[in-house]
């Protein structure tokens, strides 16, 4: 079973916690002040970082979905 990142761009408030927690998965547009999902399907070994980026988003803009 894998997983995928779900990013609700409308909720993003530019905290940048996601890129701090998982720079492999997230990028950031500094001009628009908004996060950019760099990898929708990260490797399995990045799962802990993926979860941390979701947990660390104060705006609740990120979820990690299990996919069969």
């Amino acid at each position: 079973m894998g997983y995928r990142m779900v990013f609700d761009r409308a909720k993003c408030q530019g905290y940048a916690n996601c890129i701090i927690e998982a720079p492999e998965i997230w990028d950031f547009d500094e001009d628009e002040d908004i996060a950019v999902l760099h990898q929708e399907h990260p490797a399995e070994e990045l799962r802990a970082k993926a979860d941390a980026s979701a947990r660390g988003c104060p705006a609740h803009a990120i979820t990690v979905e299990d996919v069969p």
């Binding site: 940048a16 916690n17 890129i19 701090i20 720079p23 950031f28 500094e30 104060p58």
Partner: protein, 413 residues
């Protein structure tokens, strides 16, 4: 283990509960708090929620259904008055609760102003949803707000109040805002951000007394003219809420003294969040951190320790503060720095690095979050200062080397 009690339905407390369930813990979990509201998020209380008035609604971290689905029992509006660690019993205002595992997550409370202030209850502070609602009702355009203390919360309130059309003065005993946390160079830069946005910032002033009269307040200083105010906010920091642990056998000194895995020295007890004073082996230092991400990480880590994982909690602290249009982000530690370099890579942006004992220790980034992510990794890897500072170039570069030991006083945050 069949039952865990979590005292403090705080960010750390909620994440401890989630961390227990995510690890497959199937016993009872009870979250206890003196406040009656569903656990809520605090950062917006001085920022967006204060600005747009949503403090008048609920700001729950999780809906009630989240707790129900996970079998997490909420006992809200219950004050914990004492703890008997040998009988593993909590004393509540109206009863007792026994536990096998206990998470201490009571957070911190605003410090009172250290000067006579007539009716202290008329001085605002900002810690809870109720505090924010009371303050919001008084932030009326054209009024004059005086914020005592240029720390994070005081400066955020100042910025929000300006946007609401309030006249704002900030008074601070240190030489610059956030001097103790960031040092004078970055503190001076932040002062300019506030001044550009119409905040009257008065540093290096010693407040002596606040007198209260029917229409407002008069603030007297050791030197210089008095200030009158319609509203006063005290923002002089927070203290860990550990009074209820007196006599419990839990060691308390600037928070709960924890081992490197967040265990609290008594079997079956761990601490998380603002009150945890733990040994962060990544820095080789004891520290206590009063920030959002720390509460999330520690709540989760403490849950693992309680279930027997016993791993060190290694953390590069991270936090943010929004003031006017400056989104200030910080990783690591800036206290007691030997070396500081500062760069302004573009208008209204800033990068400052802090080093000590030849190693990168902290970084402040404004409008440059991509570099912040790099520096967090560099701090985690204990990158030599020369290596980082050597790559550091750009417009407006200033560097200073401080006499060892002459850095700022010990940082509490």
């Amino acid at each position: 283990m069949r039952s865990v009690a979590i005292v403090g339905a705080s960010l750390a407390g909620v994440h401890a509960a989630e961390g227990l369930r995510d690890r497959g813990f199937e016993g009872d979990i009870t979250l206890i708090d003196r406040e009656a509201s569903l656990p809520y998020d605090k950062p917006p209380l001085s920022k967006n929620a204060l600005l747009d008035g949503s403090v008048d609604e609920e700001l729950p971290l999780r809906p009630q259904s989240w707790y129900d689905e996970r079998g997490i029992v909420l006992r809200l509006g219950h004050e914990v008055v004492g703890l008997d660690t040998s009988a593993r019993t909590l004393h509540l205002g109206g009863g007792e609760l026994t536990y096998e595992g206990l998470v201490l997550a009571t957070g911190s409370a605003a410090r009172a102003l250290p000067v006579p202030c007539g009716e202290p209850s008329r001085i605002h502070r900002l810690r809870t949803l109720e505090d924010a609602r009371r303050l919001r009702a008084e932030l009326v355009p054209g009024r004059h707000l005086v914020v005592v203390g240029a720390g994070f919360i005081g400066l955020e309130v100042a910025a929000t109040a300006r946007r609401l059309g309030v006249d704002v003065t900030v008074v601070e005993t240190a030489a610059t805002p956030l001097n103790r946390v960031f040092g004078p160079e970055v503190g001076g830069w932040i002062r300019q951000v506030h001044e550009r946005n119409g905040v009257d910032v008065r540093c290096a002033v010693a407040l002596q007394e606040i007198s209260v009269h029917r229409d407002g307040f008069t603030l007297r200083f050791a030197e210089g003219p008095t200030l009158s105010a319609d509203v006063v906010v005290g923002g002089v920091g927070a203290a860990p809420q550990t009074g209820w642990l007196e006599g419990s056998g839990i060691a308390v000194a600037n928070g709960v003294r924890c081992a490197s895995d967040l265990s609290a020295g008594v079997p079956g007890v761990v601490a998380a969040g603002d009150i945890a004073h733990w040994h962060n082996a990544l820095f080789g230092e004891d520290m206590r951190v009063e920030h959002w991400t720390n509460a999330v990480e520690q709540g989760r880590h403490a849950a693992g320790t309680l279930l027997g994982e016993r791993e060190d909690h290694l953390s590069v602290p991270y936090f943010w503060t929004d003031q006017h249009d400056a989104k200030i982000r910080f990783v690591g530690r800036a206290d007691a720095a030997d070396d500081v370099v500062i760069e302004e890579p573009k208008p209204d942006a800033l990068v400052a690095l802090y080093g000590r004992n030849g190693v990168l220790r902290g970084a402040v980034c404004v409008r440059t979050p991509r570099r912040l992510a790099e520096y967090r990794e560099a701090i985690r890897n204990r990158t030599p200062w020369e290596e980082v500072a050597g790559q550091f170039a750009g417009a407006g570069l200033t560097a200073s080397t401080r006499e060892p030991g002459s850095g700022q006083a010990v940082q509490e945050v």
